[in-house]
Amino acid sequence: LAQRSENVDQLVDHLFRQEFGRMVSHLARILGAPRLAMAEDAVQYAMLQALEVWPYQGAPEYPRAWLAKVAYHRALDVLKSERKLRFYDDEKEVRLRNQLEELQATGTAEHLRFSQEVADDRLALIFVCCHPALPRPASVALTLRVVCGFGVEEIARAFLATETAVTQRLVRAKRMIRDEAIRFEVPDPGQLDERLGAVLEVLYLFFTEGYAATAGDRLIKNDLCAEAIRLAQSLAENPATAVPECHALLALMLFQAARLPARTDALGDLLLLEEQDRTLWDRPMIHLGLAHLAQAGHGDRLSAYHLQAEIAAMHSTTEHFTLTNWKHILALYDLLCEKQPTPVVLINRAIAMAQVKGPAAGLDALKAIPVDDQLGRYIFLHSAEGEFHRQLGNSTEAEASFHRALACARTEPQQRFLLRKLAALRGPEESV
C-alpha cells in the first residue's frame, strides 16, 4: 500500500494514447505485421474494458500492467479460436505456439520490459507503417493510429477528412501490409536509406499538417506536431536511425514548433513573420533545434531537410525582422529549389527575392512559377502577389490579387487576414 507508483488518484496525461502505441507495437512483434489489425483490436478491447470497469472499482494500482494483461489475453483468445479453424500446418503451428508462450509469459509478468525493448518495438512498427510500398497518405493515417494512438475521428478532424475516408485508408494500408508480407523489423543497413527516407517523409507530412494554419482542430493539430517531434526524437536517439537527415528534420520541426505560440494574435488571427512578437518564441526549443542542426552537419549529405532547417534556423535566431539576412536565405532557397521545386518553396523563394532585390524582382520570380490548376488555387501565391503589387503602388492589381487569395481562403483567420490587407489598401483611415 505504501507505493502506488503509477496511479495516484488520476491518470498521467495522454497515458492511454501513449500506451496504445506501446502495446500495439509489442503485440505486433509477437503476432507479426500481417496481424497488425488483431493487435490493434486487442488493445482497443482492453481500453474499452477499462472504461467499463474502472469507473466502479477505480483505476488499478498499475494501470499499464492491467491494460497490457487484458490486451494480451484478448489476443491469446483470438489466436486460440483462429487455431481451431486451421488444418494441419506444422510450421505455422509451431510459430503460433511460440507466440502463445511468449504472450503468456508477458501477459502474466508485471510490465517489466526494458525501455530499450519498447523503443525497438515502436521503431519496428514505424517502419512497418511507413513502408515505401504504401501510399504516403495511408502511412500517415496508419502511423497516427497505431503508433501514436490517435482515434479515427481525431485524424479526420486534423486533416479535415471524413471518418469514412480515414477508415478506408487504414483498412487499405493494413491489407497492403499483409499482401506485401512486410516484416516486423528494423530494416538492415543495406535497405535503411530508402526505408528511413519514407519514415522521415511521413513524419514531415503529419508535422506539416499539424503546423499548417489551414482548417482543422487546432488542439489536435498541436498534438500532431508534438507526436511528430516525439517520434523524430526517438529516431534521432537510436544509433540505427540517427542519420544526418533525421537530425535535420528534427531541427526543422523544433524551429517551426518554437514559433507556434507567436503565430497568432489574441483573436486567433495569423501574424506574419514580421508581425510576430519574437519574445514569445520558445528559446529552449530553438536551442535544441540548433544542437540537432549541428549534428545534421556530420557527413557530406545535404538534404532538403538540411536546407529548410537552415532557413528556419536563420529566422529563429534573428532578434528582429529587420535584421534578417535575406541574402543568405535567398541563397538557401536557390539550393532548395534545385532539390525540391514545389510551389511552396518557389513562392517562399520569391518572397526572399523581393526582400533582397525589391518587389518587382519578387513579382518576376512569382511569374516564373509554372501555374497549374492546383497552384492557381494557392492562397499564398495570390497574397504574395498582392503584397508585391501593393509595395509597387499598383493598388488595382493588388486588390485583384487579394480578392483571388480570398477566394482560396479555407479558414476564418485567413479570411480576416486578407480582408485586413484589402482594407489597408483603401487607405489607412479605414483600416483599424
Binding site: D9, Q10, L11, H14, L15, F16, R17, E19, F20, Q44, M47, L48, A50, L51, E52, V53, W54, P55, Y56, Q57, G58, A59, G149, F150, G151, V152, E153, E154
Partner: protein, 119 residues
C-alpha cells in the same frame, strides 16, 4: 450512518469508436468522482454488471423456474451499482447528482438500505 445503493441504469453501450484520449477523458471524470468519495470515506463498494439480462428465478407451485432476463441491444439494463454512505436521501441524491454516469439516456436509482437496529 445509513447506506444507500446507487443503481446505474443504461442501455448497453457501444464505445467501439472512442479514441484512447477520449476513453481516458471519460475515465478521468469517473475516477475523480469515485476517489473524492473514497477520501470522504463515503464509498462502500461498486461493481460493473455484465451487459445482459441476467437470470430470473421464480417459484410457482413449489417449483423454481429459471429464465433469462429480457435483453436486447436497445433495452435498458442495470449497468452497475455503488454502495455509498450518506446522512439521508438528500445527501445521497447530492452525491448521485454529480456522478459522471448521468448523461443523456442514462439514469440513477437511489435506494436506501433498510437499517437494522440490534441492541
Amino acid at each position: 450512518m445509513p447506506n444507500f445503493l446507487l443503481l446505474l441504469h443504461q442501455t448497453p453501450t457501444s464505445f467501439r469508436n472512442l479514441s484512447p484520449e477520449e476513453i481516458q477523458k471519460i475515465l478521468g471524470s469517473h475516477i475523480a468522482w469515485r476517489e473524492a468519495l473514497v477520501k470522504r470515506n463515503k464509498m462502500r463498494a461498486g461493481e460493473k454488471l455484465t451487459d445482459d439480462g441476467g437470470r430470473h428465478l421464480r417459484t410457482k407451485g413449489g417449483m423454481v423456474s429459471v429464465t433469462d432476463g429480457p435483453f436486447s441491444e436497445s433495452q435498458e439494463i442495470l449497468g452497475g451499482f455503488f454502495m455509498i454512505e450518506a446522512e439521508d436521501y438528500e445527501e445521497a441524491v447530492e452525491i448521485a447528482r454529480t456522478c459522471p454516469h448521468l448523461v443523456e439516456g442514462r439514469w440513477i436509482e437511489v435506494r436506501r438500505v433498510q437499517p437494522v437496529h440490534v441492541t
